[in-house]
């Protein structure tokens, strides 16, 4: 199928998706979906600015617009690695010299929803304006007020994005936007509950989950037909979050999903790593449980609550404990076994039986999704690059890239999946798969 035919087919899908969203027009549209309050410690006395601060947290603007390792908030300089090159996030502080201090509200709204800068140039869709287009007028106004008066101006320019031809021609984005930006406000579904609609707004307009969790087509647009079906991003795997019982999160209870968004750690269900850990620490963990419940209600829509938890046994792996005993008093083999690599690298925190410490500070690996899943990438990435959790419960798993070679990591991954997962995996992980992920940015 030629590229233009494929694009047209996608455009038709886009149109049908738009119709789904448009079902049930709501008159007026100023209803404040997702009535969260700001949990920021610098909560403004001005309720509109406070609302804007909360919206910025829910939309996690800070994740992309702040340079890692101590960058000033919202001053840009975060490198986003795309298949077409490095895209640098911009300075969105109200600096008149280097930020958006000169933007009118109309220009701000246009950037946010249509991906067009004040000078008329197009933004790249690393900026998820295809999601933010759903934001209500009131919310865009609050965000504008927040960024103009609630954020400290930083007079330091962010690096300029320069992609190679033809991607460097920003004007070409006009065509892309025509095809792929649905460009319309969120419209609630009158057949669904208030909570469902609140969740829909949080997921689609603010948290922009589909930016990572939806696979993209050759033109780097979200494949609307496969919304939430999972995608690889920078070496990590954003897993399916459809309500499918087997491949998605349909088997999760609402409580599990809410707990996960709040802490990233649901024993024997899931343990977060990679960019989702940052999203939880900087965004989801700061929303209140009512909002997280709304998200869960929306994502788990229509699925009956499972009668019994489908999580695996709460006890650790007896087989792993037996493995440990076989290591003692035996000379080290030329090639280390999975058991030895687990014992030497992992067991001091995750314990011999893989079930972590009693207080959960070193978490259990038993039956968590990254261990169970056929796609091994998240487990490989966590071992190579570590996991750094901030927030209420700071915890850190160090990076082991320097401690083991590709074959050793592959051996360890296969051991962990076999001992601590409940499924069987047809294809063992190879050292080539590990090598490929070593240089993945994180």
């Amino acid at each position: 199928m030629g590229k233009s035919a494929k694009a047209l087919r996608t455009a038709r899908s886009v149109a049908s998706a738009a119709i789904v969203l448009v079902v049930g027009l709501v008159a007026g549209g100023g209803t404040a979906w997702a009535t969260g309050t700001s949990t920021s410690s610098e909560a403004s006395a001005d309720p509109v600015v406070a609302r804007g601060a909360w919206l910025a947290t829910a939309a996690d603007c800070i994740a992309c617009h702040t340079a890692p390792s101590g960058g000033a908030p919202y001053a840009g300089g975060n490198a986003i690695h795309s298949p077409v090159g490095t895209i640098w996030s911009t300075n969105i502080t109200p600096s008149r010299k280097d930020g958006i201090g000169n933007y009118t509200e109309a220009q701000f709204a246009r950037a946010l929803r249509e991906g067009v800068r004040a000078d008329g140039e197009r933004l790249y869709p690393a900026m998820p304006y295809t999601s933010y287009t759903l934001l209500s007028d009131a919310d865009v106004h609050a965000l504008y007020r927040y960024f103009m008066s609630g954020v400290k101006p930083v007079d330091v320019p962010a690096p300029r994005t320069k992609l190679a031809f033809p991607f460097g021609v920003r004007g070409a984005m006009a065509g892309w936007d025509l095809l792929f930006n649905r460009s319309g406000r969120f419209v609630s579904d009158p057949h669904k509950s208030v909570e469902w609609n609140r969740g829909a707004y949080l997921v689609n307009a603010l948290a922009h989950c589909s930016s990572c969790h939806t696979p993209r087509n050759v033109l780097f647009a979200e494949d609307v037909d496969r919304r939430f079906a999972g995608a690889h991003v920078d070496g990590w795997y954003a897993p399916p979050i459809t309500a499918d019982l087997r491949t998605g999160i349909g088997a999760w209870t609402t409580t599990q999903l809410v707990d996960y968004l709040q802490t990233g750690d649901v024993p024997h269900r899931a343990l977060v790593a990679g960019p989702m850990a940052d999203a939880i620490d900087h965004s989801f963990a700061k929303l209140d449980r009512a909002d997280l419940s709304a998200i869960a209600t929306y994502l788990l829509d229509g699925i009956p609550t499972p009668s019994a938890s489908s999580a695996a046994q709460a006890s650790g792996s007896a087989a792993a404990e037996r493995d440990e005993a076989t290591l003692r008093g035996v000379s080290r083999a030329a090639q280390p076994s999975g058991a030895q690599l687990y014992s030497g690298n992992c067991a001091a925190c995750h314990q011999i039986d893989g079930n972590g410490t009693r207080d959960g500070d070193a978490p259990s690996l038993i039956a968590i999704s990254d261990v169970q899943r056929d796609d091994p990438d998240n487990l490989i990435m966590a071992i190579l690059h570590g996991v750094d959790r901030e927030g209420a419960r700071p915890r850190l798993m160090p990076a082991f890239a320097n401690e083991m070679n590709d074959q050793e990591v592959a051996t360890l991954v296969n051991y962990v999946r076999e001992r601590f997962g409940t499924g069987t995996h047809a294809t063992p992980v190879s050292s080539e798969a590990v090598h490929r992920l070593r240089s993945a940015a994180n």
Binding site: G329, A348, L396
Partner: protein, 536 residues
């Protein structure tokens, strides 16, 4: 850097001091080669060897024991000719001996730098505390030290914070384990001053390393990397472009006729010979191998070895004689939970008494005593369920006291080259001559013995094992001083005799003080690195 040299700077030794220097020079944009005699060893291999070891109490146990770079405990390597076997403790691999330390990271007190002027003992340093203070702060940041910001660390009752600090500790101290909460109460009631020991151990995630998980095996190895060791900066330096050459045993430093250092020669395990040139050279091979290298580099111009017009190279071999004694108390205190040295106590760390006898740092150690207790019960023929019960009971009540003492530099205590013995590479092995007989120390040891009686009484404890001594923290063998006639390096670590040769590590320390040397040596090393940067 011109192609005239292989590097701007060559650093010999990838322990904490050498790696800090290499890293800081690379951050300053210099091209550095970091030479390490031993191998590059991943942590998991050391951990697995420890777990498979029958002798858990040997700090050197799980570390590489190679023919080409023997460690201090390698059979047949060190010979001792003095009245007191010194048994220095060091290993040779990337990261050096901080792989097996307990992490104590105290600053010296201002008075520690002026022992001669104030107390008529030992020597004065050529620098003061205030000059080193910013470097202490930098070292604490680089290593990741958790400590009490407001404490009076002189333990003289003067009120804290003391010594003065311009930066806070990077991390707060971890809370005391149960045993040390009880010990703090008991010792304080007895008139002692109790301190959270500042340690290079993460009490929270820091610098890509997790917080302490309480594995209690710090010596010999931390399984999770919460405890700092020199490989952190060796690998950081490598990330910045430093060439880390392992299994490279430097055996000769070459000079020109004017005394300018021009090259080092090193051997690989296969015996092959290699030569590298640089503008500036920094020795960081610890207190036995650094003087050994200088002595091996003798020429007709420098018949006593390099940097040795003073005849001080290898002399003034000091340490911090450390006594240990086990007691059995009445109360179940459960040693072995958490890190091995969370706490220290003092009568006083400084004061007029230092005119008359050594100061000492006292510790209620926190090592799990199960192996000691089990071994002794088995020797007594206890078996069966009774054995389990008694291990549990006695291990819970076991208290080990440990104290390290300052020791004055004595030129007769020294390391020289063996005239008869050579290692596998054909290099002369080190010969140690040590007598632990200085009256200043002996008086201090006697004072400690009396404190142990007092402390035992406070805990209602009786002696379980005899007092025994070890000699950690070898220092002084390339001593720092203002006078080139009786010292090897100046206040910046530059050798008096060779302007482009510097030395870092505890071998430069003028006095031992009562506290562990690593933080002071690290601060001095960072200061030396900046001196080197200014030269380039």
């Amino acid at each position: 850097m011109s192609s005239e040299f292989d590097a701007d700077v060559i650093v010999v030794g990838s322990g904490v001091c050498g790696s800090l220097v290499a890293h800081r020079l690379a951050k300053g944009g210099k091209h550095v080669i970091l030479l390490e005699a031993g191998p590059r060893t991943p942590r998991w291999q050391i951990v697995e060897k420890f777990r498979n070891s029958a002798n858990k109490g040997d700090p050197n146990g799980p570390y590489p024991d190679t023919r080409y770079a023997p460690k201090s405990t390698s059979a047949g390597y060190l010979t001792e000719t003095g009245g007191t076997p010194n048994h220095p403790s060091y290993v040779r691999l990337v990261g050096g001996t901080t792989w097996h330390w307990a992490g104590a990271a105290y600053r010296f007190l201002p008075n520690d730098f002026r022992m001669k002027s104030l107390y008529g003992v030992s020597r004065d340093w050529p620098i003061e505390y205030d000059e080193l203070e910013p470097w202490y702060g930098l070292a604490e940041h680089e290593l990741g030290v958790s400590g009490p910001d407001d404490a009076d660390q002189s333990a003289t009752g003067r009120g804290g914070p003391f010594p003065p600090r311009s930066t806070p500790y990077p991390m707060k101290p971890a809370p005391f384990p149960y045993m040390h909460q009880r010990a703090a109460d008991i010792l304080t009631a007895g008139g002692y001053r109790v301190l959270n020991e500042p340690t290079a151990r993460n009490s929270q995630p820091y610098d890509g390393r997790p917080a302490c998980q309480g594995n209690n095996s710090c010596t010999p190895v931390c399984p999770v990397g919460a405890l700092y060791n020199g490989s952190v900066h060796a690998y950081k330096a490598e990330q910045l472009g430093v060439q880390l050459l392992t299994e490279s045993v430097v055996y000769r430093i070459e000079t020109d006729s004017r005394g300018r250092i021009v090259a080092v020669r090193y051997k690989k395990p296969d015996g092959s010979d290699h030569r590298l040139t640089a503008r500036i050279f920094v020795l960081a091979a610890y207190s036995i191998e650094t003087p050994k290298l200088l002595l091996m580099s003798a020429t007709s111009e420098f018949p006593n070895g390099l940097a040795n017009r003073s005849d001080m190279v290898g002399r003034n071999l000091t340490c911090q004689p450390e006594c240990h004694q086990g007691f059995l108390g009445k109360e179940a205190l459960w040693p072995g939970r958490g890190p091995v040295h969370p706490q220290t106590f003092f009568v006083a760390r400084d004061g007029e008494f230092r005119k008359h006898h050594s100061g000492a740092k006292h510790v209620v150690t926190n090592n799990a005593p199960n192996a000691i207790i089990a071994g002794n019960l088995l020797k007594q023929g206890v078996l069966g369920p009774n054995l389990d019960e008694m291990i549990r009971d006695q291990a819970s009540r076991y208290i080990e006291l440990s104290s390290q003492h300052e020791y004055p530099p004595d030129p007769n205590n020294r390391v020289t080259l063996s005239r008869t013995r050579k290692d596998a590479l054909g290099l002369p092995t080190p010969e140690i001559h040590f007598n632990r007989d200085h009256p200043y120390f002996l008086a201090g040891a006697e004072a400690t013995r009396k404190e142990y009686e007092k402390v035992a009484a406070l805990f209602g404890a009786t002696p379980y094992s005899p007092l025994h001594w070890v000699h950690p923290h070898t220092q002084g063998t390339t001593i720092m001083g203002a006078d080139p006639r009786d010292s090897v390096v100046d206040g910046h670590g530059r050798t008096h005799d060779h302007p482009n040769l510097f030395i870092v590590g505890p071998s430069v320390m003028t006095t031992t003080g009562t506290v562990n040397p690593t933080l002071t040596a690290s601060a001095l090393a960072l200061r030396t690195a900046d001196t080197v940067l200014r030269e380039l």
